[in-house]
Amino acid sequence: MVILYLLGSFLLILSLFFSRSKYFVYGLLGVFLVLQCVFTMYAFQHGGNTEATYFTYDPLGLILLVTLTIVAIPAAIHSYIYIESHQESPRSRSIYLTALILLITSIGAAYLSNHIAVTWIFTEVTTLSASALIYHHRNKLALEGTWKYVFICAISITFIFIGILFLSLSLQHAGSDNLSYANLLQKSNELNPVWLQMAFLFIFTGFTAKLGLVPMFTAGIDAKDTAPAPAGALFSTVLMNLGFIGIFRFYLVIANTPLLHWAKLVVGTAAFLSLFVATVYMLKVKNIKRMFAYSGIEHMGLVMLGVVAGGIGYYAAILHVVLHAFVKSSLFFQYNQLYRVFQSKSIQHIGNYFKYNPTGAIVLLLGFFSSAAMPPSGLFVSEFLIFRSIFATGQIALLVAVLLLLTMIIWAFGKNIFQVLFVPTEHFEEREIPSTSGWESLTQYILLALAVYVGFNPPAALVEMIQHSVSLFPH
């Protein structure tokens, strides 16, 4: 089935790339969404199976695949709205949709791959498709964003490759050359520790470009800023989850070796520095899209702190990436409506949004509450569990520092959001505001409600799958 899925997407991509007729293109997009849903359901029902040697429907991959499908549907809808409201040329419309489908397919395949080299290949493909999406506007800023993204991602992909080379050296000591995660886990006791350390450093650094942690986070911020918002929603949620799964699967291997303590130190430092960097930028950022992007960095820092803390933190981290995907994507989807009213990204030029579009303003307000993890947001549950796990490790100083940084982030986020919603701005002259249908905010409400529901009342299947995927960690 996975071969069928890849082949089907490939055919759709090809025909999309060459077709210019409006109805045909959107028809193909619809066909892809159906394919994506069917594949997700099939994968869900065949959990645990391995197909085509390199793809396994394992619990963690399945959880993120379902998240991907849930976010992909509104992303397609909003892409449609976006393209139609911008009078795109047929060619740029085709390229956009082609890149969108390629991105979603390659992310899905990377989630399910059970071999580190296959994950790496699909990560490369996401860079390619993402750069096409970032370059959509074809102006100077888009070019700058694309160039930075491509360059940083090329370096980080090279780093991952170097890590894989070191890993294979480490594996040679165990007398094996099979780089699948299962084999690595099985042989984790025989791996050569020095090469393994080098491998972990390089692979971790490489995947931080996708995950959005220090040191490689910068490219992602520019990408989310310059890409059209529906694509930005994918970058800041499911593409970040790709970085998460890449690091998580390898971390699982290293957690079963004596190097666990060292790896915790590395990941923990990077995670804490990310929180710090996110705080600094959140305090001074004036571009609302970049503010959402920095908020994503903060959340991924928290997630990795949860992973490092261990115990209940593993569970909380996976729950957090799922819920964060719902919340952050809804904020990005809402952004285009905001832009249509004010024609600006700068918070100084945006204000009193409640007056112009109450439905959308409520989305922003709820999105802020959710993202700041205030109850009843679902993220409250996962963040609370992360803090509990840090507390359980006895790192009180770290916990206090993290909470202080979070307080500053919430203050900065809240200040900016309330300015956008309630404070009239001087720079805005009243003109014919294009009316926005309330229906365009429907998907955002659904996503936000889903985040609340999953956070407080997680389905038994989800809990079981998360527990299964963290069961291999040493206790």
Binding site: E124, L141, L143, W147, F151, L165
Partner: protein, 210 residues
Amino acid sequence: MIHVLLIIFLITLFYMSIANRLMTYIKVLSLQGVLLFFVVFLQLSEIDPINLSLILLETIIFKSLAVPLFLSYLLKRNHITREAEPFLPNFVSLVITTSIVVINLLIVTMIKDDHLDKIFFVVALSTLFFGLYLIATRRKIITHVMGYMVIENGVFVLSLAIGNEMPVLVNLGIMLDIFASVLILGIFMNKIGDVFKDIDVDQLSNLKDY
């Protein structure tokens, strides 16, 4: 013989660190491709001939002909001035390059592993970090591209060290080479040169937080 070639490869890095003109960089890149060609020929004696010839073709055609020719075409087409414009004086550059090599030598000698050829690791890691250094200290965007090509050569040397046991990884490395180079050079070729006339990194600072 392999060691001699690898050490010549290392010397090219020193030359590159004090070179002044962009054309010199391109020629050094081309020379590195030729050196890699011979290293592959001598090193990968155990893998099957078809695969070997593929790898040889990649080094000689892609690394030492196509990319340098393309880069010099870009230089001419975009009327890029011929100086590399480093941020640091050449003497400092040379000292830093030397310390990169020495530090890597120390790190690699610390690793206790008998059946590995350590020269490969010294050369590969030095090339990698030298490439990063080159990217960080040159002003023109096209020198960033060249720095990236240097990094790729370093990765290629690294993959050769284990190429006999795992030829798949060498092939993956080649895939990375071609994929990333085409992507980066493609963007450069099509757009950067046209839009940003005097291609400096200083011009790439419009994406801001405020």
